[in-house]
C-alpha cells in the first residue's frame, strides 16, 4: 500500500522483532523513534514499513517482551512509549546467540574454498 524505496531490504518477521528488542535495549522509545533509530543505525539501509512496525510492537507487547506506557513528548504530543521487560531481555539474549550462530555459520559457508572455486 505504502510506497517502498527500492533499496529497502525486506525484513523477516523474526528479524524485525529482534531488531526492535535490540533497539529498545538503549532505553524506552515510541514507534516513530524506533523506526528512525533503526534507519539511522543501519545507515539508512533498513526502512521499517509502518505496516510491519506497529503490528510487531503490538505483537511483542502481547508476548510481554515489551511493555507500553503513555507519555507526553516535547511538542506536548501524547505518545505511547515502549520499553523492554525482563522477559524481553532474556528473549533478546536468546535471539542474539541464535543470530550470532547463524551469521557465523553463513560466514563459514561463504568462506568455504569449495564454494569460492565455483563462483
Amino acid at each position: 500500500m505504502s510506497k517502498q524505496p527500492l533499496s529497502r531490504i525486506e525484513l523477516l518477521q523474526g528479524t524485525l522483532d529482534f531488531i526492535i528488542l535490540q533497539t529498545l535495549r538503549w532505553g524506552p522509545g515510541h514507534g516513530y523513534g524506533i523506526a528512525q533509530m533503526i534507519r539511522a543505525n543501519s545507515n539508512e539501509t533498513l526502512q521499517v514499513d509502518t505496516g510491519s512496525l506497529y503490528p510487531a510492537l503490538h505483537r511483542l507487547e502481547r508476548k510481554k517482551w515489551i511493555e507500553a506506557d503513555w507519555d507526553v513528548s516535547e511538542n506536548r504530543q501524547r505518545v505511547r512509549v515502549y520499553r523492554l521487560t525482563a522477559a524481553g531481555r532474556k528473549q533478546l539474549a536468546v535471539e542474539r546467540s541464535r543470530w550470532e550462530q547463524l551469521t557465523q555459520a553463513i560466514a563459514g559457508v561463504m568462506r568455504s574454498p569449495a564454494l569460492e572455486g565455483e563462483t
Binding site: P28, H30, Q36, T50, P55
Partner: protein, 888 residues
C-alpha cells in the same frame, strides 16, 4: 536528527489500568492516538529540516502509508481478534442474507437436500459398516475358510469339520478358534410353539468373540458333553418370551422336543450368527461317513496379522494330508482368511458404497447450483467489493467474509439437513425390503453422524463459496469502480455455464446408473419362473423326528393337512411339496435309465421334489404331455414320476417320454423302477438369476424316507386374502398338532419378492437419488437461462426492434439450452462409461454400456432441460423493445 527518546514521567494517568483490561473502543482510540503522534512527529521533523507545513504533512503521510491498513494489521495482533472478526463477519453475513431472502431460501433448501441425503446415507453406512460389532476387539476376529469356490450350495465361508479338527490343533497364529452352524429350532414350553433362530456352537464360541452373558454364566469346557444341557438365550427372546424375568436362569425349555436348561442371557446387541437367539453348545465329533462345511472364526494371537494367518492356513493344508481327506478334491479348495465384519455385512457393503457415491453426486450438483446463485449475486456485489478494496480492505479479509457468508448458508442447511436426514433414514429403511440391510438396530443418529454433517457443511460452504469469493474480489475488479452500471459478464458467463455443464454431466451419470439398475430389475421381475406365484399362499413346517418317528406318520399328517386346506373357504386347490422353488434348500440327485444308457454329461443332476396331486394346478405349472399325479398314486400303487420338459426332451428327443422307466437306485431291483406318466414345464428352483432347472417329480405319498418328508411346504391357490387364508392354514396345522410351529407363512409372490429384495432396494434408491439430481440440475439450467435472459434484455430488445419474431427469440433460447447441455451430456456419457462398471455385478441381463439406457437418459435430460428453458424463453419473447432500450 531529532531522536525522540521521550522524557519518561514515572506515572502517566493513562497507565493506571492495564492494556488488556481496556475495551476494544479504548484500544482503537489509543491506536489512533499512537498513529497521530507518529505523523505529528514526522511532520515536526520534516518542518525542522525546512519543509513547508503542507509539504511536510503530505510527505509524512505518504511515507506512513495507508493508515487504515496499518491499523487493520496492527489490530490483528491483539488476540481474541478472530472471534470478534468472526462475529462481525457473521453479523455482516446475516444482514446481507436477510437483504436477499429468496437467494438465502433457495440456497439453504438446495443444500439442505444435498446434505440431508448425505447425512441419511451416512447414518446407514455408519450403522451397518462403521459402528462397533458386538464383539471385543472385532479387528482381531477372522473367518477362516477352506472350501470349494462359492456356489448355490456353498454360500458362505466354511471349513470341512475334519479339516477344522486338524487345523485348530495346529494353528499358532490364532490363539483360539470356534465353529458353529445355525438354523431355526422349535421352542416349546414357553407360550405358543415358535421357530427361533439358533446356533450350535463350540464351547469356545463366547471366549473367541470376547462376549459374556449379561445374566448367568458363559459356557464351560464340558458344557457340550453328553448329559449337559446348557443353553444361552438372546436378549430379544428373553424380553419377548420370558418377560425379561431375571430369575429365568435355571429354567427348563424344550428345544426340538429336547429339554435344556437356560444358563445365561446374552447382551442386547448380540445376535451372532444370523440373528441367533439361542446358543446350544456342542462338541465336534467326526463321522467318517458324513462331513459338513461350517464357518470357523478365530481370534488372532497378539501381534499376528491377517497375512500371517492366511500363510499359515495354506501351509497347514498343504503339509497335512489328513486335512485334505475330506470329500473335496484338494485342488479345488480355496483358502481364505476374511475379517469377521465382511462376513456379517456381506454384499451390502458394495451397494452402500454405490449409494454413498450417488448421494455425493447429488450434493455436488447442489453445490454447483448454489455456486451459480452466488456468482449471479456476485455480479450485483462487485461494485460494493470494489469500493471496499479501494478503501483499503485486505483481499483475504473480504474473501474470509464472503466465505463466512457461504459457510453460514451451509451450516444452516446442515442443521436443516439433519432434520431432513431423520426423516430420510426412515424413508431409506422403509425402502429397504426386510432382510436387505443387516444391523438395522445400529442405524441411528449419533455423534459420528453429527460430526460428519458438521464437517460436510463446512466443507460444502467452502466448496461452493470459494470460487465466487475469489472471483468477486479479483484485483481487476477494483478497476470496475470507474465503469458504468453495465457489468461485464463474459468470463463469469463461461464459469456459470461450466457449472451447469458439470451438473448435467453428474445428473446424467446418476440417471444412467439408476436406469441400468431399474432395467435390470425389470428384467428380473419378468423372468419366466415356469410357475405362477400369483394367488398362491404357502406355509412351511419342519416335523421333528422325535415326534414323527415314521415316514407314514409324516405322510398321514401331510395328506390330512392338504385335504383340510383344500376344503377351506376361498381355496381352489391345495398341495404339499417338500422343497419349494426358490427356497433355501433343495434335493438334487441323479437317476438311471431302463435301457441301460448312461446319462449324457450335464444331465446327471436334476432336482427331485416330491409333491401331492394338485401341486401343478396350485403352482400353475404347465403340463406338456401325459398326466399329473392323482390320489391313486399312493404307497401301494405302481411307482410313477413326472419329468420336466428339458430333461424329457434331452433324453428322448423327438418322442414322448411318457411310459419310459427310470430308477433312483444305483443297482435297481424290480421294485425300484418308476414309470414316467407326464411331462411338465421347467421351473426356476435355485434363484431367479439362474437358469430353470430340470426336475424329476415324485408323488409325496410314494416317498419312503422321512428325511424327504419332514420339511414340507403347503401351498394353496386362492382368490381370497392371503392373510385370512394363511391364518386358516395355520389353524389347520394347530388343530392337527398343537405343538407344531409353522414358518414362512405368506403369499408366494411376497416370498419371491424377498429373493429380489436387494435389487429392488438398489433400483428404488438410485431412482430416488437420480430424481433429486435431475430436479437440481433442471433448477440449475433454469437459473442460468433466466439470468442470461435478464442480462441480455438489451440485446433481445434490439433484436426485436430489428424485426425478430417471438419464435426466433424462443429458438435462440432453445439453441442456447442445447449448447449448454450438449457438452454436459458428452462428458456425462464418457464418465458413465467409466463408472457404470461398478454396477456390473448388480446387473442382470443388462450390460453397463446398455445403449437404450444411455439414449433414453440423454433424451430425458434434454427434454427436462428444454422444459426448464420454457419460462425464460417466454419471458425473452415478450421483451418490450422500448422498455428494454430505455433500461439502458
Amino acid at each position: 536528527m531529532n531522536l525522540p527518546w521521550g522524557r519518561r514521567s514515572e506515572h502517566s494517568e493513562h497507565s493506571e489500568h492495564s492494556e488488556h483490561s481496556e475495551n476494544r473502543d479504548n484500544r482503537d482510540a489509543a491506536l489512533d492516538d499512537e498513529i497521530r503522534a507518529h505523523l505529528a512527529m514526522a511532520i515536526a521533523d520534516r518542518m525542522a529540516r525546512g519543509e513547508s507545513p503542507a509539504d511536510a504533512a503530505a510527505a509524512a503521510r505518504r511515507e506512513f502509508g495507508n493508515v487504515g491498513h496499518v491499523k487493520e494489521v496492527t489490530r490483528e495482533m491483539w488476540g481474541g481478534r478472530w472471534l470478534e472478526r468472526l462475529l462481525q463477519d457473521l453479523r455482516y453475513a446475516v444482514r446481507s442474507l436477510l437483504r436477499a431472502p429468496s437467494f438465502a431460501i433457495v440456497a439453504v433448501l438446495t443444500l439442505a437436500l444435498g446434505i440431508g441425503a448425505n447425512t441419511a446415507m451416512f447414518t446407514v453406512v455408519n450403522g451397518v459398516l462403521i459402528r462397533a460389532l458386538p464383539f471385543h476387539d472385532a479387528g482381531s476376529l477372522f473367518v477362516i475358510s477352506h472350501e470349494p469356490a462359492r456356489s448355490t450350495f456353498i454360500s458362505q465361508p466354511g471349513m470341512d469339520d475334519a479339516d477344522y479338527d486338524g487345523y485348530r490343533r495346529l494353528t499358532r497364529v490364532f490363539s483360539q478358534t470356534t465353529t458353529f452352524s445355525g438354523g431355526p429350532v422349535t421352542l416349546t414350553g414357553v407360550g405358543e410353539p415358535v421357530r427361533v433362530p439358533a446356533a450350535n456352537v463350540t464351547t469356545t464360541f463366547l471366549s473367541v468373540l470376547g462376549v459374556t452373558p449379561a445374566l448367568g454364566r458363559p459356557f464351560t469346557a464340558d458344557d457340550g458333553d453328553a448329559g449337559h444341557d446348557a443353553v444361552l438365550i438372546g436378549d430379544r427372546l428373553w424380553r419377548t418370551r420370558f418377560g425379561a424375568d431375571r430369575s429365568v436362569i435355571g429354567r427348563p425349555v424344550m428345544l426340538e422336543g429336547k429339554r435344556r436348561m437356560i444358563t445365561g442371557v446374552m447382551p442386547p446387541s448380540f445376535d451372532f450368527p444370523n440373528g441367533s437367539q439361542l446358543w446350544i453348545p456342542f462338541v465336534l465329533t467326526l463321522d467318517p461317513n458324513q462331513s459338513r462345511l461350517a464357518p470357523v472364526v478365530g481370534r488372532l494371537a497378539p501381534g499376528a496379522t491377517q497375512a500371517q494367518a492366511l500363510a499359515e492356513l495354506k501351509a497347514i493344508v498343504s503339509r497335512h494330508d489328513s486335512l485334505t481327506k475330506s470329500r473335496f478334491d484338494a485342488n479345488e479348495l480355496i483358502s481364505e482368511v476374511i475379517p469377521i465384519r465382511t462376513m456379517i455385512v456381506g454384499d451390502v457393503r458394495h451397494s452402500l458404497y454405490i449409494f454413498a457415491g450417488a448421494v455425493a453426486f447429488v450434493l455436488l450438483i447442489a453445490c454447483a447450483n448454489v455456486a451459480n446463485l452466488l456468482l449471479m449475486r456476485a455480479a450485483t456485489r462487485q461494485h460494493e467489493m470494489a469500493i471496499r478494496v479501494a478503501l483499503g480492505a485486505d483481499r483475504w479479509r473480504l474473501i474470509r467474509q464472503l466465505l463466512t457468508e457461504s459457510t453460514l448458508v451451509a451450516v444452516v442447511a446442515g442443521m436443516l439437513g439433519v432434520a431432513f436426514a431423520m426423516v430420510g433414514v426412515r424413508v431409506l429403511l422403509s425402502l429397504a425390503p426386510a432382510g436387505v440391510l443387516p444391523r438395522t438396530d445400529q442405524i441411528h443418529l449419533d455423534g459420528a453422524v453429527l460430526g460428519f454433517t458438521a464437517a460436510l457443511s463446512l466443507l460444502t460452504g467452502i466448496a461452493f463459496g470459494l470460487v465466487p469469493a475469489l472471483r468477486v474480489t479479483r484485483k481487476e475488479l477494483r478497476a470496475s469502480l470507474g465503469e458504468g452500471s453495465r457489468t461485464v459478464s463474459g468470463q463469469r458467463g463461461i464459469l456459470r455455464s461450466a457449472l451447469v455443464v458439470s451438473e448435467v454431466a453428474l445428473a446424467l451419470v446418476l440417471l444412467v446408473g439408476a436406469g441400468l439398475v431399474v432395467r435390470s430389475f425389470v428384467r428380473l421381475r419378468s423372468v419366466d419362473l415356469g410357475f405362477n406365484p400369483a394367488h398362491v399362499v404357502s406355509m412351511t413346517v419342519d416335523l421333528p423326528n422325535a415326534k414323527y418317528t415314521s415316514a407314514k406318520s409324516m405322510r398321514d399328517l401331510h395328506a390330512l393337512a392338504v385335504a383340510r386346506m383344500a376344503a377351506l373357504p376361498g381355496v381352489a386347490a391345495a398341495a404339499a411339496v417338500n422343497w419349494l422353488p426358490l427356497g433355501h434348500a433343495m434335493i438334487m440327485g441323479d437317476f438311471h435309465l431302463s435301457d441301460g444308457r448312461t446319462l449324457p454329461r450335464g444331465v446327471a443332476w436334476a432336482t427331485k421334489p416330491a409333491v401331492t396331486a394338485d401341486y401343478f394346478r396350485v403352482m400353475g405349472i404347465r403340463v406338456f404331455d401325459g398326466r399329473t399325479f392323482t390320489d391313486r398314486d399312493d404307497a401301494t400303487a405302481p411307482r410313477v414320476v413326472i419329468f420336466s420338459a428339458s430333461l424329457a426332451k434331452r433324453l428322448w428327443p423327438g418322442k414322448s417320454a411318457v411310459g419310459e422307466r427310470i430308477s433312483m437306485q444305483e443297482h435297481p431291483t424290480a421294485g425300484d423302477w418308476f414309470t414316467i406318466v407326464g411331462v411338465v414345464d421347467d421351473v426356476v428352483e435355485q434363484g431367479i438369476r439362474q437358469d430353470r432347472d430340470a426336475a424329476v417329480y415324485q408323488p409325496l405319498a410314494q416317498v419312503g424316507s422321512s428325511f424327504f418328508l419332514s420339511h414340507v411346504s403347503y401351498t394353496v391357490r386362492t382368490d381370497g386374502d392371503p392373510g385370512t387364508v394363511g391364518a386358516a392354514m395355520r389353524n389347520v396345522i394347530q388343530t392337527l398338532d398343537k405343538d407344531q410351529p409353522v414358518e414362512a407363512l405368506g403369499s408366494l409372490e411376497s416370498f419371491i419378492a424377498s429373493t429380489i429384495a436387494e435389487p429392488l432396494f438398489q433400483a428404488r434408491l438410485l431412482t430416488l437419488f437420480s430424481m433429486f439430481a435431475l430436479l437440481l440440475a433442471s433448477i440449475g439450467i433454469y437459473g442460468v437461462l433466466a439470468y442470461s435472459v435478464t442480462e441480455r434484455t438489451h440485446e433481445i430488445g434490439v433484436r426485436i426492434a430489428l424485426g425478430a419474431r417471438p419464435l426466433d427469440v424462443g429458438r435462440m433460447i432453445a439453441w442456447r439450452t442445447i449448447a449448454l447441455i450438449l457438452p454436459g451430456l458428452a462428458i456425462g456419457v464418457v464418465v458413465s462409461l467409466g463408472l457404470t462398471r461398478v454396477l456390473a455385478t448388480l446387473l442382470f441381463q443388462v450390460k453397463p454400456t446398455d445403449l437404450a439406457t444411455f439414449a433414453g437418459v440423454g433424451a430425458l435430460l434434454t427434454a427436462v432441460a428444454l422444459i426448464a428453458a420454457l419460462l425464460p424463453a417466454r419471458r425473452a419473447s415478450r421483451v418490450d423493445p422500448l422498455v428494454a432500450l430505455r433500461h439502458e
